[in-house]
């Protein structure tokens, strides 16, 4: 880049000095801003947690920011096994297991396909494949609504609409552009000589993939898994349309519990259910740390 080039070249003769801290008032301002922002980001989490531990009587007395005086885990138990979605009162646990049943095969399948796609695109490069890849990447920007109705009709015609395999297929389709891009970029950065040597040793398509490429792909598989688990677990729209009433994911059930109940609203149960639904992606986020950020960056920055 020209701009920083011209600036960076001049002061080479000057001895490098350590970056001095800013003078105190500016420093204070920075900390004040960061702490205020941290408060803004943390308050909802605190409110969720505090509300979910209060009995309803305490909530009615007011003060969403007040600490629970008599903490109880009863709302959590109710949210898990007794909260009502419409007529059924079996809590959100059914949704939890549905989400597990949807997420696990969708993640495995989309990662497997993404890896094979990326491998074939980076090393084998069959004629015309780049065009397909371009179409796929353009597809990543298409609003989901454009695809919904044709996909519903197509899946209905093979009797997979409103079924577990149906929603898994849909998640694989919607995840494929990002997964393919992720693996393609990863493999493209590997030395080509590695692949050539394996070819000279007589390795075929699948043998090179399983024996050579897959063992080297652990980091990118981890990033892909974090991205996909988060995306699919948090999905609402696709689960609502394609899963069918027997397989509704946790997010859809959560919304049903909170927004369709009649009678008194149990805010403590609602917040417990919200936290329960967020538990899996939040745990993944807090445990994976930098990997999560790397997923955001590698999926979006390159390409």
């Amino acid at each position: 880049m020209k701009r920083d080039g011209s600036l960076a070249v001049q002061p080479v003769s000057v001895a490098a000095r350590p970056r001095r801290p800013l003078f105190a008032p500016a420093r204070l301002g920075i900390y004040a801003f960061l702490l205020t922002a941290a408060l803004f980001f943390l308050v909802p989490l605190y409110v969720m947690l505090a509300t979910s531990l209060k009995p309803m009587a305490e909530i009615r007395l007011g003060g969403i920011f007040a600490l629970p005086l008599a903490p109880t885990i009863e709302p959590w138990r109710t949210a898990w096994q007794a909260a009502c979605t419409g007529l059924e009162c079996e809590g959100i646990r059914g949704g939890f297991w549905n989400s597990v049943k949807i997420t696990v095969p969708s993640v495995l399948l989309s990662i497997a396909l993404g890896a094979v796609n990326g491998y074939a695109l980076s090393f084998w490069r069959p004629r015309g494949a780049e065009v397909l890849f371009a179409v796929l990447m353009a597809g990543a920007f298409v609003p989901g609504q454009v695809l919904l109705y044709p996909l519903v009709r197509a899946l209905a015609s093979v009797e997979l609409y409103s079924s577990l395999p149906g929603i898994v297929i849909v998640h694989v389709i919607f995840g494929m552009p990002m997964m393919t891009l992720l693996f393609r970029n990863y493999y493209a950065a590997l030395p080509q000589e590695l692949f050539k040597a394996a070819r000279i040793d007589g390795g075929g398509f699948w043998r090179i993939f399983f024996a050579l490429m897959l063992p080297m792909s652990v980091p990118v598989i981890a990033v892909a898994a974090i991205m996909q688990v988060t995306n699919i677990w948090n999905d609402f729209l696709l689960g609502l349309v394609f899963a069918g009433s027997d397989n509704l994911p946790m997010t859809v059930q959560l919304n049903n519990i909170i927004n369709t109940t009649t009678g008194e609203r149990l805010y403590n149960v609602n917040m417990a259910a919200t936290l329960l639904t967020s538990l899996v992606p939040l745990a993944l986020y807090f445990l994976s740390g930098r990997w999560f950020v790397r997923g955001i960056a590698s999926g979006a920055v390159k390409g």
């Binding site: 909802p44 729209l237 609602n270």
Partner: protein
């Protein structure tokens, strides 16, 4: 893109590669290209629940733009999109710059700013619905403390409800901008700061005039991601306001869902989704093009 030389042709193996790419070919052509063409075709018909073979020209589009709810949805999307993207960018930039000042507890702060992004929009919508609840939320707390005239009932007022959706989604997404811009800032040469100090340029000036333009690749990435979120906006609205009060917080994605499944007017819904698709193309394609040009230029610069 990294150029890779094709290994000397072995026809048998290449056909295996094609076989392996079959699912991708089916997805790209069948699930993306064909469905778009199908939706385009349906949008030119009078289909209600099942596709019909008839052809009504642009009739559905004409009806669409006479539909008050659709026009309101579009207007809401424009207002929401501008506010959401601008606030996320400003807040994310300020957070990234402040974190980049070698502050204590950087890791903790970054974790705090980004965790909402790991949550679903449904959860985000529900939490903020509760916090903004006029009777028991912020307004209720303030009134109980004796501020009887304190009013923060935006979520139940037609003219302000959209801003509450902005607040909730900015809370969720500005950490993403922070993370992207921070990695951009970390990529900037440290010598820049020495040069600026020697020339006596104030720090804020360096950030505005030199660093900000250098962050263009990260910024455009953030813009694209945020824009895609704007167009998709559905979950958060459904969870938070259900489009209400009345129709005050209706958005196009919700309009399309309602007409597809609730009101069984597939033709109109398809026309609406084609309009949405064209809007996305009109905005994302130039952005994407500009971004890849910028990336290429910065790569060429690094190589030189």
């Amino acid at each position: 893109m990294v150029a890779v030389r094709r290994p000397a042709g072995r026809v048998g193996c290449v056909s295996v590669a094609w076989l392996a790419l079959l699912p991708m070919a089916l997805t790209a052509l069948g699930a993306y290209l064909l469905t778009i063409l199908w939706t385009a075709r349906v949008s030119l018909s009078s289909a209600r629940i099942f596709p019909t073979g008839d052809f009504v020209g642009l009739g559905q589009y004409a009806r669409l733009f006479r539909n008050a709810r659709w026009l309101l949805s579009l207007e809401n999307l424009a207002v929401y999109g501008l506010l959401f993207i601008a606030t996320c960018l400003v807040l994310g930039f300020l957070l990234a710059v402040c974190i980049d000042q070698q502050v204590a507890g950087e890791g903790v702060l970054r974790t705090v700013f980004l965790y909402p992004y790991a949550m679903s929009f449904v959860a985000t919508g529900l939490v903020w619905q509760w916090i903004l609840n006029p009777a028991l939320g912020i307004q209720g707390v303030a009134r109980r403390l004796g501020f009887d005239d304190f009013a923060f009932d935006w979520i139940v007022r037609k003219d302000t409800v959209l801003y509450t959706v902005v607040i909730a989604t900015v809370w969720q997404a500005s950490g993403l901008v922070m993370a992207l811009l921070l990695s951009g800032l970390r990529g900037i040469d440290g010598e820049l700061w020495q040069a600026a100090r020697i020339d006596g340029i104030p720090r804020w000036r360096v950030y505005l005039s030199i660093v900000l333009p250098m962050l263009w690749p990260s910024l455009s990435t953030a813009c694209i991601l945020l824009f895609v979120m704007v167009v998709k906006l559905f979950d958060a609205v459904v969870a938070m306001t259900q489009g209400g009060p009345g129709t005050a917080s209706e958005v196009p994605a919700k309009f399309i869902m309602d007409y597809l499944f609730g009101r069984a007017n597939v033709g109109l819904a398809s026309a609406a989704s084609m309009v949405l698709l064209l809007t996305v193309l009109a905005i994302v394609v130039p952005l994407y093009y500009a971004r890849s040009r910028a990336l290429q230029r910065s790569r060429a610069g690094r190589r030189a």
